[in-house]
């Protein structure tokens, strides 16, 4: 009974460390949880994941802003880095809700928004293959095939590089594999209308929408 309380206490504190954006504390708790033999999967499912979800909720409610979102993702990433080796030692794996190939369109050197989306997706349980910025469309498609991705996410900063999003979808159609992948588009000049026009499966205006839309697309 006492052990049980201790576990829950740690999960609660993990959650709090994300809400407060306290990275050192998040790392300390992750280490502590391993020391006292808590299954890392439980720490992820009952501590970190509810924490990051709560942060997303507070952002939607206008209580939290981009910096809090980013620091929470940063804390989660740091805590996962501690927990993951223990997981693989056990031969276990965090339940992955979908595989995502993500990148910024060809000719587009901007990648901060894309990196934030990738980080939040990863914090929410997606397996991420981040191809960086200025990625040739053909490489993105090939990688998605290789990795058996569920979702391709492509970001663009300018109306010119947005065309890469359209070309990606056309290439999938030409290859006859459009149905194999969901495609989500985003970036400053991208709109829902554009997503519809190019027959993308979804569009996310910001990181939180990106996460909820990605989840919807993979049926999680």
């Amino acid at each position: 009974m006492k052990e049980m309380n201790r576990e829950e206490d740690i999960f609660e504190k993990m959650k709090e460390s994300l809400l407060k954006g306290d990275k050192d504390e998040a790392i300390r708790l992750a280490k502590l949880s391993l020391d006292i033999g808590i299954n890392p999967l439980d720490s992820i499912d009952h501590g970190l994941t509810p924490g990051i979800q709560q942060v997303g909720k507070l952002w939607e409610e206008g209580e939290y802003f981009l910096p809090q979102l980013v620091i929470a993702a940063e804390c989660m990433k740091a805590a996962l880095k501690v927990l993951e080796p223990a997981l693989s030692e056990k031969g276990e794996k965090r339940q992955e809700i979908g595989r995502v190939v993500i990148g910024t369109a060809e000719g587009d050197i901007h990648d901060i928004g894309k990196t934030l989306v990738a980080t939040m997706l990863s914090a929410n349980g997606f397996e991420i293959i981040d191809m960086g910025a200025d990625v040739p469309i053909i490489q993105m498609v090939n990688r998605a095939i290789e990795e058996k991705a569920d979702l391709i996410c492509i970001s663009a900063l300018l109306t010119t590089t947005m065309l890469g999003q359209k070309r990606l979808i056309e290439l999938l159609q030409e290859k006859g594999i459009r149905q194999k992948f969901k495609v989500m588009v985003g970036g400053a000049p991208v709109s829902l209308q554009w997503a519809k026009d190019i027959q993308a499966d979804s569009y996310g205006e910001n990181v939180i929408e990106a996460v909820s839309e990605a989840k919807r697309l993979v049926g999680a």
């Binding site: 954006g21 206008g62 802003f65 981009l66 910096p67 809090q68 980013v70 620091i71 993702a73 940063e74 990433k77 740091a78 880095k81 060809e106 000719g107 587009d108 050197i109 901007h110 990648d111 901060i112 990196t115 934030l116 980080t119 900063l157 300018l158 109306t159 010119t160 590089t161 400053a188 000049p189 709109s191 205006e205 910001n206």
Partner: protein, 219 residues
């Protein structure tokens, strides 16, 4: 007046605008964010090297695009803060210091605006003997002036003199760069009084400015 290159000037960064880029519109930022912002701001001089190239052209030199309507002459300008800041941002993002990266990136964007403001004022000073009235500055990629028009600016100004080039998708490298034009008119431009966001067609932009900032306000 020929082509002018200006370097090694100091710029000011408008903190409020940086906070707006970070999503704070009405609410005050929390203390730890502000603290980190101040800290990163102190390191800016090392990461930012303001540079600009500009020249004033006769209307016959630019094309007949409607954005130049009524102009006697047109000033064109390319500005940058150089590549160091974005390299630092990438390194921070890579090592997992996401918040520092995001804050520094927003500071870099405002620093680029700071360079554009400085160059704008410089241009206004230089045209005073011409007895022409400057318009607000406007940039390719906003409103009716498409991003492809960057090619016009780069064909008339040597971007490489300040280390800026245009890639095939019309994106400027380094990223924290701005290009703009100013129409020089016989009469004051009535559009001066309007908020520049008024002319932009981007729907739901989270960064839309609500105030009407006065022209050439030193930031």
């Amino acid at each position: 007046m020929g082509i002018k290159i200006i370097k090694d000037f100091s710029i000011t960064v408008n903190e409020r605008e940086v906070l707006r880029l970070l999503g704070y519109r009405k609410k005050e930022a929390d203390r730890s964010t502000l603290q980190l912002l101040k800290e990163k701001e102190k390191g800016l001089p090392e990461l930012v090297s303001p540079q600009a190239v500009y020249a004033i052209f006769d209307k016959s030199k630019v094309d007949r695009h409607p954005v130049f309507k009524g102009a006697e002459k047109v000033a064109l300008c390319i500005c940058t803060i150089g590549p160091s800041l974005e390299k630092k941002v990438s390194a921070l993002m890579k090592e997992g210091s996401l918040l520092e990266g995001v804050i520094l990136d927003a500071l870099g964007s405002e620093a680029a605006e700071g360079v554009a403001n400085y160059a704008n004022i410089q241009i206004c000073r230089e045209i005073s003997p011409l007895h022409l009235f400057p318009s607000r500055r406007f940039s390719p990629g906003y409103g009716k002036w498409s991003i492809e028009e960057q090619r016009l600016i780069f064909s008339l100004l040597p971007g490489d003199s300040i280390g800026v080039h245009l890639n095939p998708s019309c994106m400027m490298v380094p990223r924290k760069s701005i290009s703009f034009a100013i129409n020089l008119l016989f009469h004051p431009d009535p559009r001066l009084k309007k908020n520049p966001c008024h002319f932009c067609q981007l729907p739901h932009c989270p960064y839309k400015k609500d105030e009407h900032p006065p022209l050439n306000k030193e930031k």
